[in-house]
Symmetry: C2
Subunit: 335 residues, 2 copies
C-alpha cells in the first residue's frame, strides 16, 4: 500500500471542504489564513480521523467524519501560524511563513480566525449526519486538545531557556504539543463512527502514542533531514536551543569539551555559524543520541500498532491496514 | 438603580467561575491568561448574558447562563490580549498589558489558551442545566461571533492605512469588532432562557445595537476621557491613525490647513508630540464631530432600548429595567 497516495486522497477531500467553507472579507485575511493550507502538508491528522472512522464504521462514518477532519486540520494550521511567529521561523512547507509575508498582526489574526473556524466546523457536523450529542462529544475532544496544545507550546518555549529537561519532561511536553492533536484526530474519527466510549478512549491512546513517535521523527528530520523534502530550514531547533530528544540524549552522553560545545550551542543567545551547527549535529550523531531517539520512536509506534491490532468490531480491514502503514510512515518518513 | 453595583454583582459570579475553572501548568502561562481578568473591567458582556437570561427565564435561567457568561468574558479577554499586541498598547485596565509583562510569545499563547477555554466553558454548560441541543446553539453563537471579531479587528487595522473610510465602513467594522460579541452575549442569555429562536434573534439585534453605541462612546473616551478612569492611555487611537467615528466626522467637516493637520496627524508614521495630539483633539471637538458621534450613539442606544421595551413574555421586569439602565450607561459612562 502506498500510504502517500492514501494521504493525497484524504488531502483532496479535506482541502475541498476547507476551501469551500473558509471564505470572507477582508480577502487578505482569508488569504493569510489559507496560505499554509494551500502550501500542502501531509494532512496526517485528517487522514487519521477519516481512516479511524472508516475502520470502525465504514464509509458512512467516514463521510460523517469529514467536517471533524477539516476542524482538526485548520486547528493544526492555526497552531503552526502562531508557533512560527514565536519560533521566528521563516519557512514552512517550502514557502515563507505567514508572518513573513503578511506581518505579525495578520498572522496572529489569521490564526485566531482559523481557531474559530475549527469550532465552527465541529458545529457544522450536525449538517453532515452527526447528532447534536455526537457533535457535543466532538467539541469536548477538540477543546481539550486545544488547551493542551497551548500548554505544550509554552513548555517548549520554557525549555529553550534551561538545560534541566529530562526525557520525561520532553515526553510530557511533546504529548501536549503534538500528541494531543493526534489523540483528538483519532478520537474524532471514533466519535463519527459512533464507537463506544471505551473504544474512543483506546483510539485516543493510539493517537497520542503515534503523535509522540511522529514528533521524535520530526526532531530527527530537523537535524538530519533534507530541507528540500521537509520544507523547513535545517538546524532551526539547534539555533533556538530547543530541547529535542536528540539534544537531551546527547547532553546526557557527551563529556568534557564536547558537552561544553553543545551546551554553548544550545544557548539561544550564542551566535552560531553553519560550521558550528554542523559540528553540533555531528556530535549528536556520534553520541549515539540518534539511535536512541529512533529506538524510542519505534517503541511508541509499536505500542500504537498493538492498539490497532487489538481492536475487535473492525468493519473495514483495509482502513486498519492503512493506519498500520501510516503509523510506520510516521517514524520512517523523510518529509 | 445603581448599574455599577449590578455589574459588580455579576463580575463576582463570573470571576469566581473563571478562576475556579482556569488553572493549570505552566503556571506563568495561566498567570498571563488571567492577568487582565484579575485587573478588573466592567464585565458588561457577562452581565448582558445573565440579565437577558433572568429577564426571559428567571433565576434558574440566570444560573444556567453562568458558564456561557464566563465563556463570553474569557473570549473577550483573549481578543484584548491579542489586540494589545497588534495595537502596541502598553496599558489596559490600569495595568501593563500582557505582552509588556510576559513578552509577545506568552501573550499570543495566553490568548490562544483563553480562546480554547471559552469553547470549553460552553461545552461545560451541560453540567449546569443546558441540554446538549442548547449547548450546540450556544456553540453556534460563539463561533459565529469569534469569526466576526477577527474580521472586525482586521478591518480596524486596514483602516489605519487609509483615509478612505466612510461612516458605513466604520459601522460595519465596529459591528464586527464590538457589536458581534455583545450580540453573542445577549443571544447566549436568551439560549439559556430557552427562548424561541425569534426572540434569540431579537436579543441579538439588541446586543449588536448596544455594541455599536458602546464603541462610539469608547472612541470618545479614548480622546476626551480621563485615563485614570478608563485605565488606558489617552490619544492612543490618534497615535495609531485609527479611523474612529470622531476622526471620520472631523475629516468630513474640517477644511484647508486644519484638515491637512488632522490628515497628517492620522498618518501612523508621523511623529507626534503631545501638543500635536491635543491640537488634533481640539480640532475634532471644534468640528462638531463629538456632538455628531454622541448623537449617533444615542440613536443606537435608543433603538436597543426599543427592542427591550417591545418584548412580551418577560418574566422578570427588574432585569429588563437593569438592561435599560445598562444601555444608557454604555453611552454615558466615564470608564
Amino acid at each position: 500500500m502506498d500510504i502517500e497516495l492514501v494521504l493525497v486522497k484524504y488531502a483532496r477531500l479535506v482541502d475541498h471542504f476547507i476551501l469551500e467553507h473558509l471564505s470572507g472579507t477582508p480577502e487578505s485575511l482569508y488569504q493569510a489564513a489559507l496560505h499554509l493550507v494551500k502550501a500542502g502538508g501531509k494532512r496526517l491528522r485528517p487522514a487519521i480521523a477519516m481512516l479511524v472512522a472508516r475502520m470502525l464504521g465504514g464509509i458512512e462514518a467516514e463521510s460523517r467524519a469529514l467536517p471533524l477532519a477539516a476542524a482538526i486540520e485548520v486547528s493544526h494550521t492555526f497552531t503552526l501560524i502562531h508557533d512560527d511567529i514565536m519560533d521566528r521561523d521563516d519557512y514552512r512547507r517550502g514557502v515563507p511563513t505567514v508572518h513573513k509575508l503578511w506581518g505579525e498582526s495578520w498572522a496572529i489574526l489569521a490564526g485566531d480566525l482559523l481557531h474559530a473556524y475549527a469550532y465552527k466546523f465541529i458545529v457544522s457536523s450536525v449538517d453532515h449526519g452527526l447528532s447534536k450529542g455526537e457533535a457535543h462529544e466532538a467539541m469536548k475532544v477538540l477543546t481539550t486538545a486545544g488547551i493542551k496544545v497551548s500548554r505544550g507550546q509554552a513548555y517548549d518555549l520554557l525549555f529553550e531557556k534551561t538545560l534541566d529537561v529530562t526525557v520525561a519532561d520532553y515526553l510530557d511536553m511533546v504529548y501536549h504539543k503534538t500528541g494531543a492533536m493526534m489523540e483528538a484526530s483519532a478520537k474524532l474519527g471514533a466519535v463519527a463512527a459512533r464507537a463506544e466510549s471505551e473504544v474512543v478512549e483506546l483510539l485516543g491512546q493510539y493517537g497520542s502514542l503515534l503523535g509522540v513517535a511522529f514528533q521524535v521523527r520530526d526532531d530527527y528530520l530537523g537535524m538530519f533531514g533534507d530541507p528540500e523534502k521537509t520544507g523547513k530550514p535545517i538546524y532551526s531547533d539547534l539555533r533556538r536551543g530547543k530541547k529535542t530528544l536528540l539534544a537531551i540524549y546527547a547532553l546526557s552522553k557527551l563529556k568534557g569539551e564536547e558537552r561544553e560545545f553543545l551546551v554553548k550551542l544550545l544557548d539561544p543567545n550564542t551566535p552560531k555559524s553553519l560550521e558550528d551547527l554542523e559540528r553540533g549535529a555531528m556530535l549528536v550523531k556520534e553520541s549515539g543520541a540518534v539511535d536512541e531517539a529512533l529506538r524510542l520512536s519505534r517503541v511508541y509506534a509499536d505500542r500504537a500498532k498493538e492498539i490497532l491490532l487489538s481492536l475487535r468490531n473492525v468493519v473495514n480491514e483495509d482502513a486498519r491496514e492503512a493506519l498500520l502503514v501510516l503509523t510506520e510512515y510516521a517514524i520512517t518518513r523523510d518529509r
